[in-house]
Amino acid sequence: SSMFVFPHKIILKTCGTTTLLLGLQRLLHIAAVDAGFPFHNAKSVTEIKAAATPYRFFYSRKNFLFPDKQRGPHRSWKQEVKFLDDIFEGGSAYMVGKMNGDHWYLYLTAPSFALTPPRTPDEEIPEVLTDVTRVTKIPAGTTTFVPSSSEDVNDETLEILMTDLDPENAKQFYLSHASAVASEKDAAPSQNDAATSDSDLGETVDVFSNGCESDLHDHAKAGSEAPTTTEGHALGTVVSENSGLSSIYPNSVYPDARIDAYMFSPCGFSANGVVPAPKRAKEGGENNGAATSSAAHYFTVHVTPEPNCSFASFETNVPGEPTGRSTSEIIEHVVNIFKPGRFSVTLFEGSGKGENALNHDENWASNRRKHLTRRIDPVRGYRRVERIVHEFDDYDLVFRFYERE
């Protein structure tokens, strides 16, 4: 499982029989009380008074393999939707894909400007307007606009959900296999292996729970105390490199990218990657410019290799072309690592339509659909059996499902 905390949003992805939605009300409470986001007295939360009102909300999952063994509201989509409807007003629930096959569920709310209204321009308008991407006409006398931010306009999330993994490829996500690989590396270290070991295994440390935190910078400076890692993290790094996961976003292209990987016992694997964006100068604005200006990106991988329930997921919001690897390259790279029998691809992309959605004509929509579907080319060795495009208020969703040929 993984959690990503940004200044303005939080992403929580949990595996197995976790009770993800049971943490939602506490999450909203923390956002209100600890982070200061606007709140209201949620009608369905009696013991938690202050719950932040989100700007927008997404919940999604693939159909479960063993729904009866899930807990809390997660035994059925109907219960999950009811749970969410009790918290949010105006949410929409969707099922994408074949009802009698692999399908994918989505619940989302439309963006709310009630508590985070578009900013009213002030004297800095001329300068700011150069960076404006959407202008909305409202009654004379005022102009409202949504300032551009790379994340707002270019936000995109790619998710690949793979089942029926090739048994040979799945082996590398067993602890015994990872240990054997690590031993081989120790026995015959090449120059590259040695560098890997120094930089990736040895630089991480420290105790989380007692507050005695330090980091690789401190150790680099101190140059003394030998750093330690748990076996799960050390082997996770070995698996990450040996399987090809760490080269999805190679350091040669993304020099500050970093992966945190963990190998479970006796099997199973999780990894988070952070791909920092180049720093930009502080921007002005209503938050005193204190928030960092550049978007950061992430990717995450989770693997359950057992033959009776084999599954792997890959998710990323690292932008594709023109600055990075193309979406189809990423898909092919990931699919080759696991060689699944079946997999789905969902690409969620901000459309940039915003409040001007009604002004776009059918040609615009058609071109947009072509642009999105081109991003996911045919995948070699697989037959596409499903292709669905959904247009939401300001996001487009492409869903595709593939089977091995």
């Binding site: 939080i10 949990t14 506490r26 986001f37 997404f58 105790v207 980091d215 748990t230 920092p276 720093k279």
Partner: protein
């Protein structure tokens, strides 16, 4: 070894990470939620802390994660995002 300032750094929770057993895991597909409190990091609403959610200490998230049945294995921190690797 001199990492760039932008390079995220990792903190491991040894108490949890050293003694995990996934023998009874059986369900692969995950649940995913994404909650946005503002359109972007640079347009936080009035009243929000300057760093928004990133100001929340890991220990506070721990209470929420208890309800989800997850524990923190490690945290990869960077200027713009903190990535928590969780158990289960």
């Amino acid at each position: 070894f001199s990492p760039s300032q932008a390079t995220p750094h990792l903190t491991i929770n040894h108490d949890v990470a050293s003694d995990l057993d996934s023998t009874n895991a059986f369900e692969g597909p995950e649940k995913l939620l994404e909650v946005w409190f503002a359109p972007s990091p640079t347009s936080l609403p009035p009243g929000a802390r300057p760093s928004g959610l990133k100001v929340v200490p890991a220990d506070t998230w721990k209470g929420m994660l208890d309800l989800v049945n997850c524990e923190v294995l490690s945290v990869l921190e960077s200027d713009n995002v903190d990535a928590y690797l969780l158990s289960e």
